[in-house]
């Protein structure tokens, strides 16, 4: 067995073929296989290279070959493989829902999804809820998309939990800087201090008599025009 093992090819020695190998490929099959490998890897490399700031050409190629790359999930599709660039996008997000009779000014009245204090942060269910919240934050200015997502969250509360949501918002949890943690005030050293949260999307939920759900986006800070000083 030891002698036969030494005769076989080793993946660490790509140059050595097996003696008396049980399978072999004819030249024609090797040509076909090589062509398929090259084409496949070309598409993979196009998909991967388009992950961050794709050019118009890359985007066009992706659209042409989407039936292959997207169907097999070979296209990372803006998944942040860079892990972080320390931008406002590379932070944690959560969705919060205010229920009927809740007080918007009372943090305890908001239901957080996900809830960092009640769930295991490395679990996949937690991560999926975070990604949902992130997408809602990122598409806050796209009323159609954000409306779909907010409506979906409200629908889950209405139809599965039998609760009446009145508002849905998405918050970004901003990051503490190194100086904050090292030499900041008590509030700056607390990562869960309210000052580290920024509302990216806020909408009212309107539930019709038949159970229909409508979303009315509310103005966020900075979107409301400042009153003219000459106006009373």
């Amino acid at each position: 067995m030891a002698v036969r093992a030494e005769e076989r090819s080793d993946s660490s020695e790509p140059g050595r073929g097996a003696k008396g190998s049980a399978e072999g490929l004819s030249p024609q099959w090797r040509q076909f296989g090589s062509l398929a490998i090259v084409l496949h890897l070309l598409l993979v490399f196009v998909a991967l290279s388009a992950n961050y700031a794709p050019s118009a050409l890359q985007q066009r190629l992706l659209d042409v070959f989407a039936v292959y790359t997207r169907a097999l999930n070979l296209d990372p599709n803006f998944t942040p493989y860079h892990l972080t660039h320390a931008t406002e996008v590379d932070v944690d997000h959560q969705v919060q829902v205010l229920l009927e009779n809740g007080d918007a000014s009372n943090p305890a009245d908001w239901v957080s999804v996900p809830n960092v204090h009640e769930e295991l942060t490395i679990s996949e269910p937690y991560r999926r809820r975070q990604r949902f919240a992130k997408v809602l934050s990122l598409f806050a200015d796209d009323d159609a998309t954000a409306g779909h997502l907010a409506r979906g969250m409200a629908s889950q509360f209405v139809h599965q939990r039998d609760l009446q949501p009145t508002r849905v918002r998405a918050r970004a949890h901003l990051l503490q800087s190194w100086t904050d943690v090292r030499a900041g005030s008590v509030q700056q050293r607390d990562p869960f201090d309210p000052s580290y949260y920024d509302v990216r999307y806020d909408a009212r939920i309107l539930i019709g008599p038949a159970g229909s759900i409508d979303v009315l986006k509310t103005a966020t800070a900075g979107e409301v025009a400042r009153p003219d000083a000459s106006e009373p």
Binding site: A5, S9, D10, S11, S12, G15, G17, A18, A22, E23, G24, L25, R30, G33, I37, H40, L41, V44, F45, L48, N51, A53, V67, R70, L72, N73, L74, P76, T79, H82, L83, T84, H85, A86, Q94, V116, T121, I122, P125, R127, R128, Q130, R131, F132, V135, H148, L149, R151, G152, M153, S155, Q156, V158, H159, Q160, L175, Q176, W178, V181, P191
Partner: protein, 318 residues
């Protein structure tokens, strides 16, 4: 007539000779038969990842995909553009929102992944596991992270290989075709595709990281560790006293990634590249909380383990 040394050296570097050498190396790289133990080990590991992925949907299956769930089919169609006719994201989970049917599908999906993991009807279960995983991904595309694309290409390439010949129930029952230890061309192709795709992922990670300032100025590890709702463990107390430590870890991540791309191929440096990558993914997993992604990358790294090592491990297992 004697040939001059000049003639001989010119012939060695002629385009035809170089082309022939390239072709021979290409054929050895891609088509030399390989002991199927590689793909058998990968089958077990990738199968475990697939089972994990599917099981983690259990608490939230109806929450996301059920009637009145967060992600209705209309929402997903809008997000993916399928409502405009260019989705290419088929999913059997689109067939129903009934909780009963969803749970039946879910149970069958997990069963398929388990059978794939233990190597029963390996070829069929491999393809079915891939289709099942893709169905979940396409049903909830905004729920995916860096883990899912890794899992998908691992499953895809293993479909090409005789994963059930060794370390499997197929092998135990004698259901697999061919001798269990007979080298296989398809095993080589599958393993090489995994290796090349994995290295391309490392390249993707590095090039994307270096497009941002945080990885150049050495602060990226801090910004990962500071995400208090994502991290596995709070390292800010350990990192805060020393900016040099933050810088060192950040630069180490980039250097290990670049080093892996180059050094994993030569036999002499491969063990060191693999060992360093273990430390890399441990660090990334702890600071970012992306434990499943780190695990998937480590499983992919297993494609580079030598045949001799795998045989020793398999012999111990027997």
């Amino acid at each position: 007539m004697k040939s001059s040394p000049t003639d001989a050296s010119a012939a060695d570097h002629s385009p035809a000779r170089l082309s022939q050498q390239f072709g021979e190396r290409w054929n050895r790289f891609w088509f030399d038969p390989l002991d199927p133990i590689h793909v058998a080990v990968l089958r077990s590991l990738v199968g475990c990842l697939a089972v994990y992925y599917l099981v983690t949907f259990t608490p939230d299956l109806v929450y996301w995909f059920g009637d009145g769930g967060v992600l209705s089919r209309e929402t997903v169609a809008h997000l993916t553009g399928a409502d405009q006719g260019w989705g290419f994201r088929a999913s059997f989970l689109n067939l129903t929102t009934s909780p009963t049917v969803l749970w039946v599908f879910h149970g069958l999906s997990i069963l398929v992944a388990i059978l794939f993991t233990v190597g029963l009807l390996s070829r069929v279960m491999n393809v079915l596991t891939l289709l099942v995983v893709l169905s979940y991904i396409h049903r909830g595309p905004i729920l995916t992270g860096p883990f899912e694309p890794i899992l998908c290409f691992l499953l895809l390439y293993l479909c090409l290989a005789p994963t059930g010949r060794r370390l499997s129930l197929d092998g135990r029952f004698g259901w697999s075709r061919g001798a269990s230890d007979a080298p296989s061309v398809s095993a080589r192709v599958a393993t090489r595709l995994i290796q090349v795709h994995l290295v391309a992922i490392y390249g993707l990670i590095v090039t994307n990281q270096l497009a941002g300032e945080a990885w150049w100025n050495g602060e990226a590890v801090w910004w990962l560790a500071a995400r208090s709702e994502s991290r596995l463990a709070d390292l800010t107390g350990l990192l805060a006293p020393s900016l040099f430590l933050i810088n060192a870890l950040t630069h180490a991540i980039v250097l290990i990634e670049i080093g892996f791309i180059v050094l994993v191929w030569p036999r002499l440096t491969r063990p060191y590249a693999l060992a360093a990558s273990c430390l890399l993914w441990l660090l990334i997993g702890v600071t970012s909380g992306l434990v499943s992604f780190a695990a998937a990358m480590l499983v992919g790294n297993a494609a580079f383990i030598s045949t001799a090592t795998l045989r020793r491990l398999a012999a111990r297992g027997d």
